[in-house]
Symmetry: C2
Subunit: 433 residues, 2 copies
């Protein structure tokens, strides 16, 4: 993409309404614009990141055996009356009357809708286990939406649902999702810690939240120090194997949010206890037959008809974009992990109109393919460098007259700040898509 034509409205000033760094940087880097309180439009640069995050989530869901579907945003209220949650859910639910005065709602989550879909299509345990997920916009009418996409009203969520014949099988599905979440965050360049959690309005008796640590995190968390530095990025998982030992290894160590603290355990931990701040980026639940019993989602089992055992599994996809920035930034801007960077390489032409510089840039730009962003604007070098630091691409290639005449290009690494010289040919090899 050429910056001279790209729709990238960066801001020099920090917008007054943004209280946290990810919100400020997403506005300044031209990633999003507010459409209404807690409701955002994603501009091209932001959308590229959102899609890359979603695709990593999708890929790891698929590896764990989950199948993608797509449920609608608008749901009939009658399903929520069946489950008993319509009156319970409170003002966070966006309630709507259609032209025929039927009660509808904008889904804040999809347990009811997927249970309805399941009961209409699956009748026998022979079709189980099934894990179905979708990546769809949700709406929760927060009283005070804030922190940009971190606590918006309209937000993109991956929510998955498992269906099993008995609790033991349901536990296996829960474990698959648990481990796939660890893999997902690792691929996003995030270190997530699973924490014992309340089940809240979803219900059930087994639940974990996944938090990443960041100074700006909304919750106070207390974790065993062994979690710090844990790296799942290179783990290979056989999802058909027994995952319980892996899950046990992650859940027997102390890791809790503020509401779940246990003074007795903490006293025994001594220096092994770390107090930090966390951002919740996922939440998984096993709730058994809560919805299937209420909504009559019955399957024929080997010993007769039973309500299906269910769990649900959520990842905040749009929220993760904010969380990624909270965990990866400095004074100058964002520092994207390679896996989710909107473009892998930025290309700066220091002397537009100089034919040697222009030619070298065009050659590199072609080699970079869809992963290259070429700053071909008529702007001062300072503006170009500042914008490139702000939007935080992992690599920047700088082409100037001196380097070009020597056949070299300057290479900057955003994460470390390191600069080096490279021959044009070596850069073509290293960065070609």
């Amino acid at each position: 993409m050429r910056l001279s034509t790209y729709f990238l409205p960066t801001l020099k000033e920090t917008p007054a309404e943004a209280q946290i760094v990810s919100h400020r940087l997403m506005l300044r880097a031209g990633m999003v614009r507010q459409a209404a309180a807690g409701i955002y439009s994603w501009l091209p640069l932001g959308l590229r990141v959102l899609n890359k995050v979603a695709n990593i989530v999708r890929d790891e869901q698929s590896k764990a055996g989950a199948q993608e579907i797509l449920m609608p945003t608008i749901q009939p209220a009658e399903l929520w009356r069946e489950s008993g949650r319509y009156d319970d859910y409170g003002k966070e639910m966006l309630r709507i009357k259609d032209r025929h005065e039927r009660d509808m709602l904008y889904g804040p989550t999809n347990e009811e809708l997927i249970t309805d879909l399941f009961r209409g299509t699956v009748k026998s345990y022979k079709a189980l286990p099934k894990i179905l997920y979708h990546i769809q916009w949700k709406f929760r009418d927060e009283v005070r939406p804030r922190f940009g996409v971190m606590r918006g009203r309209e937000f993109l969520m991956k929510d998955g649902y498992s269906f099993d014949i008995d609790p033991a099988a349901a536990r296996r599905s829960y474990n698959r999702m648990f481990i796939s979440y660890m893999r997902t965050y690792a691929r996003l360049g995030l270190q997530a810690i699973p924490m014992k959690a309340d089940t809240g309005p979803i219900g059930g008796d087994l639940s974990h939240e996944f938090h990443i640590l960041a100074d700006t995190g909304e919750s106070e968390v207390f974790v065993h120090k062994d979690f710090i530095g844990m790296d799942w990025s290179e783990r290979q998982i056989d999802y058909d194997s027994d995952l319980q030992p892996l899950v046990d290894g992650l859940t027997t160590k102390y890791a809790v949010t503020d509401e779940q603290r246990d003074p007795a355990i903490e006293a025994g931990l001594g220096d092994n206890l770390i107090r930090a701040r966390g951002i919740e980026v996922g939440h998984i639940f096993y709730f058994g037959t809560k919805y299937s019993a209420a909504m009559n989602a019955i399957v024929a089992g080997p010993n007769g008809d039973v309500p299906v055992e269910m769990g649900s599994y959520g990842i905040g996809v749009s929220r993760l974009v904010g969380a990624l920035i909270e965990a990866n930034h400095d004074e100058a801007g964002i520092k994207w992990p390679e896996s989710v960077a909107p473009f892998k390489v930025g290309l700066i032409n220091l002397k537009k109109g100089d034919s040697a510089c222009d030619d070298a840039c065009e050659k590199l730009y072609r080699a970079l393919g869809t992963e290259g962003l070429y700053d071909d604007r008529d702007e001062r070098a300072g503006v170009k460098f500042a914008d490139m630091e702000l939007i935080g691409l992992p690599w920047t290639l700088v082409i100037g007259p001196k380097g070009v005449s020597a056949g070299t290009v300057e290479v900057k690494h955003r994460a470390t700040g390191e600069k080096s010289e490279m021959t044009l040919d070596a850069a073509l090899v290293k960065f070609a898509q």
Copy 2:
């Protein structure tokens, strides 16, 4: 994907509520299920088609210079009050009050929201032209939703918007979109005919609808016979060239919907006039400063400040899935064009448990990659053949004991019904992903 675990709830019976063939086949082939009147969940097979259609639209938008963004589904009513459309739009607009009693709505289209985004970010003609589009769910509260995804309430639309400094430039953007639509439909395997159209509630004075011909089409259309058989699938377009002659070539010939007929012209056409039925699959508008003037979207031009010139461009992405089936089916089921088929190849194992058949199937299945659907179920051959015809994959490979011992596989082509024998090795080469 293995059919033994795939979530593909096909139906033997034709659902009573489905009046047209695409709706019947989408339900029977396990592509969608209704969540509420005119609101659908997309199951894995349907979602694969929806995504392939969306990706072709996306690719052709990008080639024509349009940039992808993503606007939210929920919009503030105040923007529609600025344009004057809030009161005009009628009951098709889903109106919502949020918890603070603010008037919101589920976007039926996005002229207001994009104009608001534009006026907040672009100030000078130097940033023009710009064409921005998104692919997002819309809601139109139809009185009587029917025909499945062809006339649903919640539907997926690609809507694009062009911004230019003057009418001549705006016409160039209009032409780009016009031609990109021709290319898009051709890649989908559809032959679309552009027709002079009313501008309706969008406004403006230049507008075309794109219709595909199908016996089950909702509108009666009248077209010059030269349009029949027109093929744009191999056209190469240089979008930086003057596209006016190409557009003229497509718009000077007679092609109209029922409301736009001209008896004088038709009398002169004689046998060249074809009467047929059409399905509307796109609509483009040039409406000048209708929204920019009302909403104060002003840019600094070379001769002072002017309201920006705009157009809008819609393709019904979810509707296209239905339209594709209307245009491509027979008694037994769907006949997908290769470009949008959910899987390119179906693989039938006639004797599961026979180690030679199983081995040959596994080998083929691995080679097919993500484009292969392997029917590894314990079902009768008749059931497997019927399901494969129903879901309409372009190619079916049949593995049975006799063929395997001779080293051959039977290959069926869904579109033509032709069957042939091929060596296993030749099939591996021909169908490997």
